[in-house]
Subunit: 440 residues, 2 copies
């Protein structure tokens, strides 16, 4: 007899009112990912610590849930889906098609300090293409991200850049140490939050006059994506890195244009830099229109060296990762999620325990006709039974008293309108199907 | 640059060929559970160790993945879904409808010795009804189990008993210690494996002549379920426990009969005993016809004291738990799973990098028409591209050379028949939809 205790701090139970819209959301994303040929992968929650250790910087090693298992092995809970993907590509290479286009959805665990909107267990829904350097793969990763947001009813804006362009800038500014390069990119990344002026001041302090002049020119380029790319190319026409970055983005925007995406959906934004050091090509972030304050709900990019650096084969890769919990919050905020506490469509009221076999028979027939149905377990006052339907949002209650049972009829009450109709029991399923179809 | 290493022993990666049929399987089960009004619940992978400790016997505490987290808290990975359900019912009671009918699917972790078919991470798909003592709830748990197997194309047999009947037997045999009662039930439980003769010998050795005579009478009752129940009632008409058990099962079989389930699907089997001590009423196991050797793929029962014993409110409960991994093996063995390595239906061949925008445009249109489609990323020999379609089982390849592009036509090649047809590009989606509909 233990004292009741709750769930761990930073961990959540998800009850029906979260889970029903959440599952609908995940299914829509999955259908979009599959429409592009991504195939599912599931990896274990636990990995050898040696696989994950050192892959996420100092902070990662600190936040990781690591421990010794029963056999004395050092293990850790999954921290993201990218490192397990690299392990899978290494371990199962002979069984995988190349390019390998996989999606995965699942929890990751990080021992962050619990705070509003931050959890220690959260869900990432990733799609990655391993084994292709094609710009078509880059364009596809952007398109699949845009389509996912559209399938959820959300207007989204994907802002795209290429790390090679930032590399060119760093090079031209005479910045040589990786640490300084990281700081410079972090300053560019802050433009959205603190404004160009303050970001330039930071660059001026940290990296000097040459860097700040270049960054000012770079950030000052205006216009539509293709125009900006042409202008940038002229700014540093000698740089190989710049040309590589520009060429890639021109192809990506050409392909996205051919597929029908507009500047309202995908734009080149030179202030996108992304924090992670492992990106090597295209990088992007996604905001929901009307909920920009949430930050990026879906980001990613190209990471051509990561699989090799993780000890795997030398395979290029590009991917996208949806932050499921943040996206859910955004969709809820924007009213794109249909609230629901149950999937049940019909509650069969219980007036008499002797009639229970008939109630069960009727509910069984409704289920076989594709109508999720429940029988109230105990005979109870009608008010109590209708109250349950009301509380759960079950749209119809079927009433069959003993008189009705004798006559072979049933009454359907619409919870919405309060209206009641009497129908013969054999026609119950058909009537309810029509009512449900009309209401949806 | 770490040395490549594999996944942990006892843990599995699931690649597309497992995941695609597995997801289809889980969706079918979910649809059945939802048709009965069960609502989804998700609980964290990690719980306080104090919540799980001591709930699964000595073995459970030994096999549990437990450790200290970053904040020095004792935590453990989920060992099943039942104890977390009891915690949820305690923690969120005011938010939950009563009876609370919930389903949950997710991994559980047990540090068992890895061996064939045994994993340290495996999936359970549970449905439970908390807060009702009604026999209708018992019948529903049996029905939802039977319907799930039927939805998967499997013929299943659910064998049902009631712990109260076994309690009556134990009492009549003069067995008083819980340990002896457990041993007696374990011997009954072995009848299927070792035969009635050997089980009776074991009972004779352990519990003496009175027990063995009673057990022989008990196991000797023959016939259809209802007849057996009547015969058993006569065997021990004085026992309150026996009468309770018999009354419950008679109602359950009456309701299942009303809903159309036959003796081929659900039977009373007095040799079902179930290992776990916490069952208090109905208990059952499920075998797949043609794959009986796998053992029970889905079992459960009534556990009216568990929620209270776990520190929660005094709420009765009954539930079913599908062993997803074992069920998957059984369905695969029986040929009920459609093998697939991808969901892609069309591969658009790539003959010329200059035509890539057109290929992308075509694939986009196919996707919008509901046809999962991929473009081959690099121009390559047709044989190589068709080879990929063949390897992955993509049924159609669309061929658009530069001549065809000029004429505005495309060739559809069926990978199955090898036949090719030429169609105007604007009619491509419609043609492929018809071909796919005809083939399915």
């Amino acid at each position: 007899m233990s004292t009741p205790q709750g769930s761990l701090s930073g961990f959540r139970d998800m009850l029906a009112e979260q889970m029903i819209p959440r599952q609908a959301m995940l299914e829509k994303i999955r259908a979009v990912y599959e429409s592009y040929g991504f195939v599912p992968l599931k990896t274990p929650a636990l990995e050898r610590f040696s696989i994950l250790s050192g892959k996420y910087g100092e902070e990662g090693d600190k936040l990781m849930y690591k421990f010794e298992d029963q056999g004395g092995r050092e293990v850790a809970l999954r921290y993201d889906h990218t490192v397990p993907l690299a392990r899978v590509v290494t371990q199962h290479r002979d069984k995988l098609p190349m390019p390998y286009k996989r999606y995965t959805v699942g929890e990751v665990w990080r021992g962050e300090r619990p705070q509003a909107g931050r959890y220690r267990e959260f869900t990432q829904f990733d799609a990655d293409i391993v084994g292709s350097q094609s710009s078509m793969a880059d364009a596809e990763i952007i398109a699949v991200t845009s389509d996912s947001m559209a399938a959820l009813g959300a207007d989204s804006l994907i802002r795209v850049n290429n790390r090679r362009i930032l590399d060119a800038l760093v090079e031209a500014a005479g910045i040589t140490s990786p640490k300084d390069a990281h700081l410079f990119m972090a300053a560019i990344d802050k433009v959205e939050k603190i404004g160009a002026q303050k970001a330039l001041e930071e660059i001026s302090t940290e990296h000097g006059q040459k860097a700040v002049a270049l960054a000012a020119d770079y950030l000052g380029v205006q216009g539509e994506s293709m125009n900006k790319l042409h202008a940038l190319a002229r700014l540093m026409s000698e740089s190989e890195a710049m040309n590589e970055g520009i060429e890639n983005l021109k192809t990506v925007f050409e392909l996205l244009g051919a597929a029908g995406y507009s500047e309202n959906q995908v734009v080149f934004d030179q202030a996108i830099a992304r924090g992670l050091d492992y990106y090597t090509g295209i990088i992007f972030e996604t905001s929901l229109k009307g909920a920009e304050g949430l930050g990026s709900v879906c980001s990613g990019g190209r990471y051509d060296n990561l699989v090799k650096d993780l000890g795997g084969p030398d395979l290029p890769a590009v991917g996208t990762s949806i932050g499921v919990d943040r996206l859910f919050d955004g969709l809820q905020l924007l009213g794109h999620l249909k609230p629901a506490r149950t999937n049940t469509q019909v509650l069969v009221a219980n007036f008499d325990s002797n009639s229970v076999p008939e109630y069960v028979q009727i509910a069984t027939k409704l289920r076989r006709a594709g109508i999720p149905s429940e029988v109230y377990y105990e005979p109870a006052k009608l008010g109590k039974q209708v109250g349950l339907a009301d509380k759960l949002g079950i749209p119809y209650v079927v009433l069959i008293g003993s008189d009705e049972l004798d006559k072979g009829v049933a009454t359907i009450r619409s919870m919405d309108s309060g209206q009641q109709v009497e129908v013969p029991v054999p026609e119950l399923a058909e009537n309810l199907q029509q009512m449900l179809a009309a209401a949806s």
